[in-house]
Amino acid sequence: MRLADRPFLVPVLVLSMLCVLGAGGGCRRDSSTIAIERIQFWTLALAPFDSYIRERIGVFEREHPGAEVVWVDVPFEAIDRKLTAAAAAHRAPDVVNLSDRTFGRFAGLGAMADLRPLLKFRPEDEYLDGALAIGRFGDRLLALPWYLTTQVGMVNTKLLAAGDIPPDQLSTRWVGLREQAAAYRTRTGKYLFSLPLGEESQLPIIMWGEGLRPLKAGSDGRLISSLLDPPVAAYLRGWVEFYRSGAMPSEAATRDHSHLNEMYQNGELAEIDSGPNFLKRVQDVAPGVYALTLARAAVTGSTGKSHIATMVVAVTRQSRHPKLAAEFAAFITSAESQTEFCRLAPILPSTPVSLASGVFARPPLGKDGVPTDKVAWARAVAAESLKDAVAFTPAMEAWPDLRRAFEERIKVLLLDGGDFGVALREIDETWNRILRESPPATEECLPRVSMTEHPL
């Protein structure tokens, strides 16, 4: 085929090339006056707050001429894979919002930059100490705390009544709740509550609230596993036997926290502990269940302390503009930005200034004694529990690996059976191997929970 035989091809090709060149040219900016510094900001499932995020970015860009923030929202369950893939291609975002669990994993991989030399202020003066602890790794600060979620208990009063349990008689301690759940299952054939035990297992988290420590200092001061210590082993055995008794749904071994939410809004669970924002979802997708729901303080261990789940904002080591990225991280987590965010979303702030802003007062009760705004009530309950809350997350690089090793083995134990003692010894050995291979960690890294006499 000769081009001369197809005369229309020539102008089409020329036009196409011009379009391609034109498209490239369109991206070019006049950089003669101000050098453009473009940073990418990833958030975790914040698309519903599109206008808030865009407004904040607009303010930041006005305050920082030449700065351009490209915002990308990533689904919660995809962040691990997307960030890993982006980093492998050396295209990690400059600023990234992560959950404390995911953050720990990436911090352990050396993915995050130390913020201390990049910030112009002392973070200790701006953020709640318990929340800031998540990002502290020795002398380094690898993340700033953003919003917090302390769990709140939600009770389906109708399901509870079916088991003859008055709401005020429902235990607020895990051990007591387990006993009630076994009786409830026998009486109604339904489940009183559930808790992720395998996937994203809460066992290494909630045991801190019982005053139990899965890690202890060895003879040289380095942390070693204490899973075989009799009180810890007895506590874990109690949960495994409880699961095997059938008083918990099988999803407790294979699904993360999302199974609680799904089951509760489907009317399959009588009690769950979740963030107060979950109640808003129940209101939207299951108004019938919402009408029957009562908010109360979350279930805790024997210390009465609850866990703070913290969303953090970190700057990656691959960032080409780390200073600007750190400034943006500080801006989006500032008291001003957080107070405004708290007015829009049922979340809790990590700055004392925002917490004192009056957004978190309990709403008035209606004539029937039921709060006029259950979501605001739940948020107020969660905010009040902040004073007793501690992040049950050791600030150490190896912690995500320890949790994953625990989850992989405990899942097999829960689903395939086997000897509890053998499984625990295997986890203990794996933990000690991981701890030996990881940067040294001491008791300084561990959550500070006041110890009480354990009932077991």
Binding site: L109, S250, T254, R255, D401, L415, D416
Partner: protein
Amino acid sequence: MTGRLGHRPLTPHLFAAPALAVLVVFVGAPFALVVYLSFTHFTAFSDSPTWVGLANYREALDSDRFWACMANTAAYLLVTPVLAGLSLTAAMIVRTGLRGAGVLRVMLFLPVVTPAIVGALAWQLLLKDHGLLNSLLEMLGISPVPWLSRRPWTLISPMLVTLWKGFGFYMMIFLAGLIAVPRELEEAAAIDGGGRWTVFRHVVLPAIWPVVVLVSVVSSISALKVFDEIFVTVKGVPIEHQTIVPLVFNTAFEARGGDHGLASAIGILLFLVILAFSLVNMRLVQRRTRRASGAGGGGT
């Protein structure tokens, strides 16, 4: 034709060049990269890969987890004969030209055009502890089955999704093969006193044998590479309950440190297994075809 091309010896190469370029960029180069990475230690946040020789292969082959997943992958192959048998039966029914056969064909083909993730999610709703299937079983007085959490159901459940999804596709392939079989041959065999089964076994099956081979090879390879169905349906079960490709994914993106080198090595081992399996499969088929044509030649 040859004469004209003879004047422009580069022309055929130029025509092939775009396709070749696509193959090199999107298949050849990634494959070469995976082979290289399989000899290195490389995580997402490593500055550059570190050469470790055969260490990743040794680690994979020494791991119980690898062999457990390999055994599950081999077990997953059981889906292939069932899939071939069901889709061939469906194709025979559709081919009879019964009233409503067209509608049936469309309905059976629908799962093929449904995204695998959507299908697997729908199946998850059906199979979960308090799902539709268990509710039906309970109504019949049968105890509920832990489809999504206990062995062997954690392998059977994704197999059901694979069957549902692949059934229509292979039915269409069989249908194309069956349409090509001359009706006269079947009629002649029937006139000679052959029953339905005899006609199928001695006339139809030999005629569509190449199609049977194609379906067997393609569906076996798909079964060895299964991922979507397992990832969505039984995500969260121990990795020892899953197959090799989910293990690759787990090693690269979820397990400690996101080890791309080890994941690449496992991927290459799977590639070698599939290659060996396909070669053996095709060699056996060729031998059978040769024997059949030899027997046919002697008969005539």
